[in-house]
Symmetry: D2
Subunit: 134 residues, 4 copies
């Protein structure tokens, strides 16, 4: 996924002093977290005791949708609108935290443990990028 | 799209006093606005003077992604998390307003005029649903 | 959702003799089916016997993703590529049929009955549009 | 993105002899290609001569939507349906090839050159996974 960094460098206009390394990191974690949440929701469906995991599945699905949408918004630079970017980073951090908390509640299942870890990373990286946006 | 209302009624558990009519309306407008924004971005690409419309295209694309994600979150009731729902409704209203303002700037093009109108409706409906969430 | 038809008419170039009514109908059903499948997956998670419904949830999730993507592709006319459109309509019909068959297996649940009905409509409308593409 | 492999290993049931390394590779390339296409569409919008690139933008947008949806379908194992998986892999390969061909036509722009390269990889990896599905 070094290609994420390359595509940022290839943008034909100035990126107004944004921290490109933090931006690339955030896009990568949004994609990785979206995939992990999709896979964790599905792994929960494969567990015998799925009935105990339905809130986890739902939050995984929300988190996946929101992480994907955030990654998309962050991948665009033309006509940058700080309010949209900030709003998405904030709700993405909110969703990642909620999903991490639910998954940590069943961390005996390795898919939840690893998904929670990725959600914590993605939440933190979203907050770090937010902090650089001023 | 009356099916949206039906699916809400079919949910097997209590929906905790949410205004089902406002919820259904908001889901419908999120889907309709996402489609209009996708189509408006594409119609802009079909205009001779596309170079003057690139900020509009980009904001259309963001708005479409965010409206779709918001519609998805609103379509789920299991394990409801008010912070995620509120965050998505807020960023959706922000994106719809930004897109409406850009499209209103080229309302001589009918696709922008109609997309702007739909974005204004979707923004308002998101804010109305937000107001009922307490 | 009459706006779908309006946005097609507003496209600034010729649409090469495509049946605009069938196209609009197909876009509307793709969106409606995507939403119904998202809601049905969530309603299944709200059922006491969710363990019996996990294959239905998974197929609902696939069908929702594929219907959304198909609606997006159909909403664009610039640089039309018949092979992509045909491929998406075919896999959308395949997913809708699979989802309908699973949901019909639990049609005592109203959410599955209505989702199955919508999937059957969407499958048929995709096949009808495919037939007009020559 | 080693997490993709981990999440496959964490699935609680048997994966029926699927080549897990090829599956993980394909999910990663679908995500990477979706992101590259989103970024390439946006970089095209940032070019002075965007009017010459509108077909490229549109195909990038389709390819991004289809790659994301394919990555989602491949990330689920519960209730596996070979026809849906095969259909998505086929249309994904079709979209990636179309996008690669368009981007190769403007490979003097580094974003198109790198996007084309990623699309070629993703097309090949989709076809390799298809070949293992029997």
């Amino acid at each position: 996924m070094e290609l994420v960094n390359e595509m940022i460098k290839n943008y034909p206009a100035d990126l107004d002093g944004i921290d490109q390394e933090k931006l690339a990191r955030c896009i990568r974690e949004c994609l990785s977290c979206a995939q992990a949440c999709t896979a964790c929701a599905d792994a929960c469906l494969g567990e015998e005791d799925v009935a105990a995991l339905v809130n986890c599945v739902r939050t995984n699905l929300d988190c996946a949708d929101i992480c994907f949408a955030t990654g998309q918004v962050l991948s665009r630079h033309t006509g940058y609108d700080a309010a949209i970017t900030r709003g998405m980073l904030e709700v993405c951090a909110t969703a990642c935290r909620a999903c991490a908390e639910l998954c940590e509640g069943h961390a005996a299942m390795e898919h939840c443990a690893q998904c929670a870890q990725e959600c914590r990373i993605c939440e933190q990286v979203c907050r770090e990028l937010l902090a650089t946006l001023g």
